[in-house]
């Protein structure tokens, strides 16, 4: 028989860290609230019959957010065999609010007070025995980060699950409330699920619509209950839900007075002191800019570059490609197959893998920023700044996640309740460079700018800038009009991430990248090689000579669409084709260049790959190319995520169309204006850029239309239901 233990607790209390430690999983852990949006499960190590469920972090069992609905539905309907309630020991008072609700569910419960290492470090004391006595369940001290007490907590939870020790809530409410609860219990006798009567009765008292609907009570019973509730509301001069909330906090305060001695009460914690600087009104944005600049500069321009140069030029250029050549020659392999393997697969996949060292350095930085707690501050900082432009900080959580990969970034938009804000976030999230775009940034920075310090960080800021511009423009359209949703976010305390946590995150991301190079990219390189190596010679379809690339199928297709990009400065068919192959996977763009510009040929000639590639673009057209590919439609996986989240074909087309159109306009303006400044020649392209600029200025500064809430809601329901 299998036993299910649910990990439940407030957001950012270390549930996923504990889940990983108990099950040996590698779920993503981040030091900001909202990392887990759906429940996950794994087997408890050493207990094949015990399943651990990691639930999204919630503040209460009220159905206000999606996470709360997911957790509440699971706990009430599916009823795990036990709850392991994870409580943040540094913030006991707030955490106990949920604990009091969990206790009412009647499910056997063990409370694990997490972050005890921090509690002791702060000099605080928690009286575990007293807490256990007041809550009516076993309480254990743990530190999920260091592993202290976690096995004992899991064993204890497994034990109560197996013995089915039903939890009985110890707390009681004020006389009039308990009186009304007793009436409700009596009126609903036999109508409520066994062992959950207390929770249902309280929810009925709170007038929880979802519970009322689910129970399908007769109207006469509902009327009777309403009479009881109204009587209490009149007596206590408050609404029912607020009465229960106040009662809970009164009870929690009494527990805190008895069980928790805070040495640092009233004093600023280390996190508060850091935040005084890091989130300071004037310093926050410059510090944020400096940190992100440093992250991209170090990743792409300094440490990563040397390693990438070595992989590209030495490992692939001087070692792997000549070795593969020799092997093919010695085995007398046919020319076409020789070409496919060396000029196609090794050149294409090799060009992508060459950037792994830079990616690893970037992943280390991102993992550190996520785990230490700074990422949460970025959302807070940007919310304060961008609210002035009508954008909500809630949108920045998906964008922060999107800096790793656009797919989870887009899906994280589910946490945004306001439908127009959610759609706008989906449309703009992928403008932040994801890790797959890093090789493109590194390629352009290395090949055209000689590793100039500003190129890689500028790509990140182009993304942020584009999101702001898009936000302002879109908010002024009828489709997205309305005030930004209020953004309340708990700032987690800073802590030094463990080496294991960072290593796990870096390994997960790097291995995904390498795996992708060995799957999607590999198949794409075979296709690109075929299309670029075969074509028509004197009317006959044949494999072409190396210098007849312009006669290939790919050149034929590419030249049909290349004119579209001529105003952006890169009307060459190779660039156009690369941009299109980037839609399969963004790294594919680099793989395509690896084939078309011949990583293998560069190796033969003893040239550096980047040097060979640099011939076809000017500095301005290269940056315009970079800009377009950063901002245009993302890869198919992300487009699929957009379609799933929009749940509407029309909205998906609007999103992808907007991204491509916006990217085109930005790249056009950049290329045309910078060309005009550098050459002084006013062309038709410059005139077109002036028109685009004028339209954009109008869209940015025109007055916002009047918000009509009714239209927004109807529209939202059409799409989401």
């Amino acid at each position: 028989m299998e036993f299910k233990i649910a990990l439940a607790g407030n957001p950012n209390t270390g549930k996923t860290t504990l889940f990983n430690a108990l099950t040996g999983s590698n779920q993503f852990v981040g030091n900001w609230p909202g990392v887990t949006v759906e429940k996950k499960e794994g087997k408890l190590m050493g207990h094949p019959d015990v399943i651990i469920q990691d639930l999204p972090g919630i503040y209460s069992l009220s159905p206000y957010t999606l996470e709360e609905v997911v957790s509440r539905t699971y706990l009430v309907k599916e009823r795990p065999d036990a709850i392991l309630n994870i409580v943040d020991g540094t913030n006991l008072e707030r955490n106990l609010y949920l604990s009091t609700q969990l206790a009412e569910l009647g499910i056997p419960m063990v409370m694990a007070v997490n972050m005890m290492d921090m509690v002791r470090k702060n000099g605080d004391i928690i009286n575990i025995d007293k807490l256990s006595q007041r809550m009516g369940c076993q309480v254990i001290e743990i530190s999920a980060r260091t592993g202290e007490g976690i096995n004992e907590a899991a064993d204890l939870a497994a034990k109560v699950a197996k013995h089915q020790q039903v939890m009985v809530a110890k707390h009681s409410f004020d006389g009039p409330v308990e009186h009304a609860l007793a009436h409700i219990e009596e009126a609903t006798q036999g109508m409520l699920p066994a062992h959950q009567e207390r929770w249902y009765v309280i929810k009925l008292f709170e007038r929880d619509e979802k519970v009322r609907d689910a129970l399908k009570l007769p109207q006469s019973v509902i009327d009777h209950i309403d009479g009881d509730i109204e009587a209490v509301e009149q007596e206590m001069d408050d609404d029912a839900e607020s009465i229960i909330t106040n009662e809970r906090y009164k009870y929690i305060s009494s527990i805190i007075d008895e069980c928790n001695i805070k040495k640092s009460k009233g004093k600023l914690t280390t996190s508060d002191k850091i935040d005084k600087i890091v989130t300071n009104r004037w310093l926050a944005l410059p510090i944020f800019a400096a940190i992100m600049f440093l992250v991209y500069y170090v990743s792409v321009t300094t440490i990563g570059t040397d390693a990438t140069d070595w992989v590209n030029d030495t490992l692939f250029g001087e070692m792997l490609i000549p070795a593969a050549d020799d092997l093919m020659d010695s085995m007398e392999v046919a020319d076409w197959l020789h070409g496919l393997i060396v000029d196609g697969i090794i050149s294409g996949v090799g060009a992508v893998l060459g950037f792994v060292p830079q990616m690893v350095v970037l992943f280390i930085f991102l993992a550190f920023l996520e785990a230490c707690g700074y990422m949460a501050r970025i959302a807070f900082i940007l919310d304060r700044a961008f609210r002035k432009f009508g954008l909500s900080g809630k949108s920045f959580i998906p964008m922060l996640i999107g800096s790793g990969c656009g797919v989870p970034g887009i899906m994280a938009s589910r946490t945004i309740e306001n439908e127009s804000d959610r759609r706008m976030t989906i449309m703009t999230t992928t403008m932040i460079p994801c890790s797959a775009k890093m090789p493109i940034i590194a390629l352009i920075a290395g090949a055209y700018f000689g590793g100039e310090w500003w190129v890689a960080p500028s790509a990140y800021f182009v993304g942020i800038f584009s999101i702001i511009i898009s936000g302002i423009i879109l908010k002024k359209t009828k489709l997205f009009a309305g005030d930004p949703a209020p953004f309340v976010m708990e700032l987690p305390p800073y802590h030094m991430p463990t080496l294991g946590n960072i290593a796990r995150s870096v390994w997960e991301r790097s291995s995904s990248f390498i795996k992708k190079a060995g799957t999607v990219i590999l198949l794409s390189t075979i296709l690109v090689w075929f299309l670029s190596s075969f074509g028509w010679d004197d009317g006959a379809f044949t494999m072409l000579d190396e210098d007849a690339l312009n006669e290939s199928i790919l050149a034929f297709i590419g030249s049909k669409v290349a004119w579209i990009f001529a105003p952006l400065g890169w009307g060459d068919w190779k660039a156009a084709v690369a941009a299109f192959t980037g839609l399969i996977a963004k790294e594919n763009l680099v793989g395509t260049f690896g084939i078309l510009y011949g990583l293998a040929d560069a190796a033969e000639d003893g040239e550096e790959f980047w040097g060979t590639f640099a011939q076809d673009f000017s500095v301005l057209s290269a940056y315009s190319f970079l800009m377009f590919n950063l901002l245009c439609a993302p890869c198919v996986a992300a487009m699929g995520a957009i379609k799933r989240e929009m749940n509407n074909g029309r909205w998906t087309l609007i999103a992808i169309g907007y991204q491509c159109g916006f990217a085109y306009c930005m790249a056009l303006m950049f290329y045309q204006f910078s060309s005009f400044i550098s050459t002084g020649t006013f062309t038709l392209g410059t005139a077109a850029a002036c028109v685009v600029l004028a339209i954009m200025i109008y869209l940015l500064f025109r007055p916002a239309p009047k918000y009509n809430g009714e239209i927004q809601i109807k529209d939202a329901a059409d799409v989401t239901e």
Partner: protein, 46 residues
């Protein structure tokens, strides 16, 4: 002979890659390159 052996090896690799991608797709795993091999969001499609 060399062409046959190398061609066969390549064919097997490509077949294995396609099979793996198909299985991942069926399992609801995303093919994106970020940290989503183990991501509940990516696996838990609507």
């Amino acid at each position: 002979m060399g062409t046959f052996i190398v061609g066969l090896v390549l064919f097997l690799i490509v077949a294995a890659v396609i099979r793996k991608m198909y299985k991942d797709h069926k399992a609801g795993k995303s093919s994106c390159g970020g940290n989503c091999g183990n991501c509940g969001l990516c696996r838990g499609k609507k």
